[in-house]
Symmetry: C2
Subunit: 199 residues, 2 copies
DNA sequence: GTCTATATGGCGATAGAC
DNA sequence: GTCTATCGCCATATAGAC
C-alpha cells in the first residue's frame, strides 16, 4: 500500500449497524421519546456530534430500525408454507414463523410494536402493521369458511387475540432463555388447542 | 345566602377528575413522554398554570391514573369467585373479570400497560403489575398440579401467553363496539379451548 | 380558579477545528 | 470520524395579579 495511514479516530463507534443496535436498545429501555441523542451517544461511547455524522437525526434511526422489523414480518408471509396449502395449515406456518422472527429480530420488532404514530415514520410503521394484521384476519376468515377451524367466535376477534398473544412475547422473551427451541410450536399449540386446555 | 357571589372563573375546567380523564386520553394518544403540559392544557381548555393548580405536575397525573388502573386489577383478585373454588374455575373468573375491568377502565389500564419504568411512579406501577402476574402464574400452576388443565406447556409460559392475550385487548377495544357483551366469555373460551380450535 | 409573564434547563441539531 | 462549543427552541414549573 502506498497510501499513508489516515489519522486514527479516537473512539471508533463500529459503524452504522453497531450504532443502530445500540440506539434500539436504548429506545426499548426508556421509550423512544424519553431517549435523548445525548443518551444514545453516551451508550455508544461517542459524542452527539459524532452520532449525527452517521445518522441525520433521531428519526432516521427509528426509521432504519422499523424497516428492519417490517421486512422481517412480511418475510414470513412470503414463505412457501404461508402462501400455499389449506388456510389452517398456512396459519400454523405463519404463527410459528412469526414467533421465530419475533425472537431473532427481538429489539426491532419490539420497537415496531410500541410505535404510537407521532411522526410520519411512525405512521408509516402503523400502516404496515395494519396491512400485516389484515392478512392474518383474512386467513382466519378463510379457515373458518373452509370449516377447518371452529367458528365459535368472530374471525376478526380471533385474529386480534391471536396477534395479541403472539406479539406479547416481546414483553418477556430474552435470547437464550430455556424453552426457546420449543416456543414456536408451543405458541401454535396454545393457539389451536388452548392456553390452558381441559384434560 | 348572604354571601356575595365569587368572581366567575373564565373557563371552568370541571375539577380534578375531569382533568385527569382528559390528560389520560392525551397520554394514550401520543405517549406519556411525548405529551407536554401545554398539550394537556390545550385539550382541557385552560392554561398550563391553571393545570398546575390542580396537579403538582405531570407525574402526579400519571400516578393518579396508574393507581386507578392498579386498584381495578387487584379488585378482580378479591372477588369471591377468584378466591374460592377449584383453581381452573378461579382462573375462569379472573380472566372474565379482568376483561371486564380492562374494558370499563380502558384508558387507565391502557396507560398502565405502557409504562416503561423511567420514574419512581412508573417503577411502582411495574412492580404492581409483576405482583398481579405472579398471582396468575401461581394459579395456573395450581390448576396444572390439580390435573384440571393439560400440562402440555410450562405453566409459567401459559400464564405469560394468557396475560398477553388478555392485555392485548386494550390495543383495539373501543367502548360500544359490537360484541362487547360477549367479549369476556369469548376470551375465556379462547383461553381454554383455543383461539382457532380444530372442529 | 384562572390568567400573563418568566425562570431555568435540556432538547435536537449545526459549525468548524483536528 | 471524532471532538468542543453553541444555537434556537420548547419543556416543566413558578410568581403573582385578578
Amino acid at each position: 500500500m502506498s497510501e499513508a495511514p489516515t489519522k486514527r479516530a479516537r473512539r471508533p463507534s463500529g459503524g452504522r449497524e453497531s450504532l443502530l443496535e445500540t440506539a434500539v436498545g436504548e429506545f426499548i429501555a426508556r421509550g423512544y421519546d424519553a431517549t435523548s441523542m445525548e443518551d444514545l451517544s453516551r451508550a455508544a461511547g461517542i459524542t452527539k456530534s459524532s452520532f449525527y455524522h452517521h445518522f441525520t437525526g433521531k428519526e432516521a434511526l427509528l426509521r432504519a430500525a422499523l424497516e428492519r422489523a417490517v421486512d422481517g414480518l412480511f418475510g414470513v408471509l412470503d414463505l412457501p408454507g404461508a402462501r400455499d396449502g389449506a388456510p389452517a395449515e398456512r396459519l400454523r406456518t405463519i404463527v410459528r414463523e412469526q414467533v421465530r422472527v419475533l425472537t431473532t429480530e427481538l429489539p426491532y420488532v419490539t420497537l415496531l410494536l410500541r410505535v404510537r404514530g407521532n411522526t410520519e415514520t411512525e405512521r408509516w410503521a402503523l400502516e404496515r402493521r395494519r396491512a400485516f394484521d389484515a392478512e392474518i384476519t383474512g386467513l382466519v376468515r378463510e379457515a373458518v369458511e373452509a370449516g377447518e377451524v371452529q367458528a365459535g367466535i368472530d374471525p376478526a376477534l380471533a385474529a386480534r387475540l391471536l396477534s395479541g398473544l403472539v406479539n406479547s412475547i416481546v414483553e418477556w422473551y430474552r435470547p437464550g432463555r430455556p424453552g426457546t427451541a420449543t416456543l414456536p410450536e408451543d405458541v401454535v399449540a396454545a393457539t389451536f388447542t388452548g392456553i390452558v386446555p381441559a384434560p
